[in-house]
């Protein structure tokens, strides 16, 4: 038995998904919205990064469906008791990676612990050795066979990935051939030569790369700690994957939170001018003048005090950590809306003087209608560009804030927390480097993909660059 748990951020994440889908449906019939997107997906760079982003997104969404499992029934129990631990679908998929916890540090693919331990041998002697790991490579009788075992597993993984991608290639060929009414073989050839307008070949290659990675990790992580373990023996790969959701939530929900403010206030200030403008300008100048990190720090500190004094508000640890994450998004939103607001105000000031707004006024069109029908659609591209550009900055900011100590809850898995936890390990001899490297690599891949994608989006939507 399981009991579904809907955390606040889960709800908002799925709300965001709904918003995106609704917008996509709306945009389908609007040529001016479709055309730039078509341009985006024509770029090979954008398509490749879109595939990477999708992989991250799917992981994040799987990690956003939470539940609690029932505890084993004890005698005389009347109703089912649920575990205090909140799990996600991703947790169950990761299975052994989550549960196979070692004693302490172990290097990637290690079969032995990274630290010496005092072990009493059969003869009653105490020696300091590197003991075998409980799980990592435990199936090997002789650790020396590790290389061959890894190679064999990798070969299986490669075969799986290649066949999965090949299947996808065929599927894409069939669908495109049907839509364009062309023979399948010709279409497949066209795909393979990269002669389609949308660079399907690039997309498939990116898919192949990701499939290869997933298959490798799936095959190897069952028997090894592919990225090693941390101080308390937890698998670093598990931590890195679980951190994806945190990064995505901060990158997207923050924007979701700040958008209404920025758009509404920016348009109001630009359209009505006068005292409305003065008040809104005062508001954002004031907020802007407080150094961002300090405002976030102050707010998060206060929230910490509040939460510490009101422990009764949270049923589970997960809920508490989740609310803290949501609050962090709110705070980041409050500190980051000013830039977009100012931009939209300026643009509205320009737009309201344009002839078509004057023409609408000359028809007696109401102000609300002018705002919604004439101004908003002509500001949307700026909003979109701001959203995609902000995303990567926010993901990076999470790491810094967690380092400062005002980021996500220490119990939440995040790249920032991983880096923060691992940075002192740099001073160890020998050095423990894998946690850091894993966190940086996962974060770098996401941010790089987001940056490349936002470049393509900006090129397509920014009217200044067009033509």
């Amino acid at each position: 038995m399981i009991q579904p748990v809907i955390l606040w951020t889960d709800a908002l994440v799925f709300l965001l998904v709904v918003v995106v889908l609704v917008f996509a449906l709306y945009a389908r019939n609007k040529e001016h919205l479709r055309a730039p997107w078509r341009q985006v997906v024509r770029s090979r760079m954008a398509v490749a990064s879109l595939v990477v982003l999708s992989a991250y997104t799917v992981t994040g969404l799987l990690d956003s469906i939470h539940f609690r499992t029932a505890l084993p029934e004890t005698a005389g129990q009347r109703e089912i008791q649920y575990s205090g631990e909140v799990l996600s679908v991703l947790d169950t998929l990761l299975g052994p990676v989550r549960t196979q916890v070692e004693k302490s540090y172990s290097a990637p693919f290690a079969t032995h612990l990274y630290t010496r331990e005092s072990v009493t041998t059969g003869e009653g002697e105490t020696v300091r050795i590197f003991p075998r790991l409980q799980f990592g490579g435990a199936h090997l009788a002789d650790p020396a066979h590790k290389g061959a075992d890894i190679a064999a597993r990798s070969a299986i993984a490669a075969a799986q990935a290649v066949s999965a991608t090949a299947a996808l290639y065929l599927l894409a060929g069939v669908m495109l051939a049907r839509r364009r009414r062309r023979p399948l073989f010709a279409m497949l050839g066209q795909l393979a030569r990269g002669e389609t307008e949308i660079p399907w070949r690039t997309a498939l290659l990116a898919v192949l790369l990701i499939a290869l990675l997933v298959a490798l990790l799936a095959n190897l992580s069952a028997a090894y700690h592919v990225l090693g373990t941390d101080k308390v023996g937890q698998d670093v790969l598990y931590q890195s994957i679980k951190s994806i959701r945190t990064g995505l939530v901060i990158g997207t929900l923050t924007t979701l939170v700040m958008l209404p403010f920025a758009v509404f206030l920016g348009m109001m200030a630009g359209y009505f001018r006068g005292w409305v403008d003065d008040v809104i300008q005062y508001l954002y100048t004031t907020l802007n003048s407080i150094p961002g990190v300090l405002l976030i720090a102050a707010a998060v500190l206060m929230m910490q005090v509040y939460m510490a004094n009101h422990p009764e508000l949270f049923e589970t640890m997960a809920e508490r950590a989740d609310l803290r994450l949501l609050f962090l998004c709110l705070i980041l939103g409050v500190t980051s809306w000013t830039g977009l607001c100012r931009l939209l105000r300026g643009e509205t000031l320009k737009l309201r003087e344009l002839d078509y707004v004057q023409a609408a006024t000359a028809f007696g069109v109401s102000r609300a209608t002018i705002l919604v029908r004439h101004l908003l659609p002509n500001l949307l591209h700026l909003v979109l560009i701001a959203v995609v550009i902000d995303f990567s900055g926010l993901v990076l900011a999470e790491a810094v804030l967690s380092y400062v100590g005002v980021g996500v809850d220490p119990t939440t898995l995040s790249w920032g927390n991983m880096i923060n936890g691992a940075r002192l390990e740099m001073a160890r001899e020998p050095m423990v480097w894998w946690s850091l490297l894993a966190a940086f690599t996962f974060m770098f891949t996401l941010v790089l993909a987001a940056n490349l994608f936002s470049d393509a989006v900006r090129d397509a939507f920014d009217p200044r660059l067009r033509r």
Binding site: Y282, I290, L294, Q304, V305, V404, G405, M426, L448
Partner: protein, 325 residues
């Protein structure tokens, strides 16, 4: 000009009042001083006496806004609001929750901060502008394309990575610099150099790319075509015509941070153990010393507003179209 400066200074007052109200709300209304005392003294088994003592030592035992027990003007001044917020306007920062004089700390610690931040700012500006100009000069070539790709890669790397990797490579592997620490006086350069280099590299991606677009935007303008039509060589075109025009948008983002250089960089100073205002702040955050955080928020706002003023003044220096009135 003077009238303008005065007017801007006056405009700063309502903003600082706003900042003050926000911090006051955050620090004293969201949580009562009792909550904070409990937090500091440890959550469990705190006696009310201990809380009262903690509050009295730090001056948090007064009413928030209005003191009904006091007489005359004290009714308004013998309050937490007056004591902790209004006094900031006189740059009277009071003492920290740990009992140190914040004003003295700031005076002492801003110099190491400046010693890192100022060279980083100046060298950075020089490097970014030259880099962007180089790319703009070779626009469309492979050099330009690979430069842009480099920028995107650089800006996708977390700032923490630059510091950790830099410390590892230069200090641990190559032993070129001390890992961390600081020494006042001329010997400080050994401690300053690495943070400065790392800071400059960390900012190259985003700044270099943005500045490049500024240059390209200017190069596309009509006056550049005019200059070409009179036979001006490309290099001279870039240095004499484009550079000064591109400095206008560059200054918008750059001048505003000059005053805040005093505040130092939180991350950098903490990693390198620089006893500046950045590490001061981060220690305060980690020790939950709210008095210091409040002081730094106020100081940061003042410096930011000063930066806005400097930005406006700097415009008039590079752009003859703008005259302050």
């Amino acid at each position: 000009m003077l009238a303008y400066v005065v007017r801007r200074a006056l405009y700063a007052i309502p903003i600082l009042v706003g900042v003050n109200l926000i911090t006051f709300f955050l620090f004293f209304v969201v949580n009562t001083p009792d909550d904070m005392a409990r937090m500091h003294l440890g959550m469990k088994r705190v006696t009310p006496d201990a809380i009262e003592k903690w509050k009295a030592e730090r001056g948090y035992d007064r009413p928030l806004l209005y003191n009904a027990q006091a007489d005359g003007s004290d009714r308004l001044t013998a309050t937490i609001f007056f004591d902790k917020s209004v006094r900031l306007f006189g740059f009277d920062f009071g003492s920290s929750d740990a009992g140190r004089n914040i004003g003295a700390d700031i005076k002492q610690r801003m110099w190491p901060s400046l010693a890192i931040a100022l060279p980083q700012f100046l060298v950075g500006l020089l490097v970014y502008v030259s880099f962007a100009m180089l790319l703009a000069f070779f626009r469309g070539s492979y050099l330009d394309v690979s430069g842009v790709v480099l920028c995107v890669v650089l800006m996708s790397i977390s700032g923490l990575f630059y510091i950790i990797a830099g410390q590892y490579v230069f200090s641990k592997l190559l032993h070129l610099f001390p890992v961390s620490g600081y020494e006042p006086g001329w010997l400080a350069w050994r401690f300053i150099l690495l943070p400065v280099v790392i800071g400059v590299i960390a900012g190259l991606g985003s700044s270099g790319r943005v500045y490049r677009t500024f240059f390209l935007e200017e190069i596309g303008k009509d006056y550049v075509r005019t200059a070409r039509a009179k036979g001006v060589p490309e290099t001279r075109l870039l240095f004499r015509h484009v550079l000064k025009n591109a400095m206008v948008p560059i200054l918008t983002g750059v001048v505003v941070v000059i005053p805040t250089l005093f505040m130092g960089s939180l991350i950098m100073e903490s990693f390198f153990g620089i006893p500046g205002l950045g590490s001061y702040t981060i220690e305060a955050i980690q020790n939950q010393d709210f008095a210091i955080v409040r002081a730094m928020v106020f100081l940061g706002s003042v410096l930011y507003i000063l930066g806005l003023l400097l930005t406006d003044i700097s415009y008039t220096l590079v752009d003859p179209r703008i005259r302050l009135s």
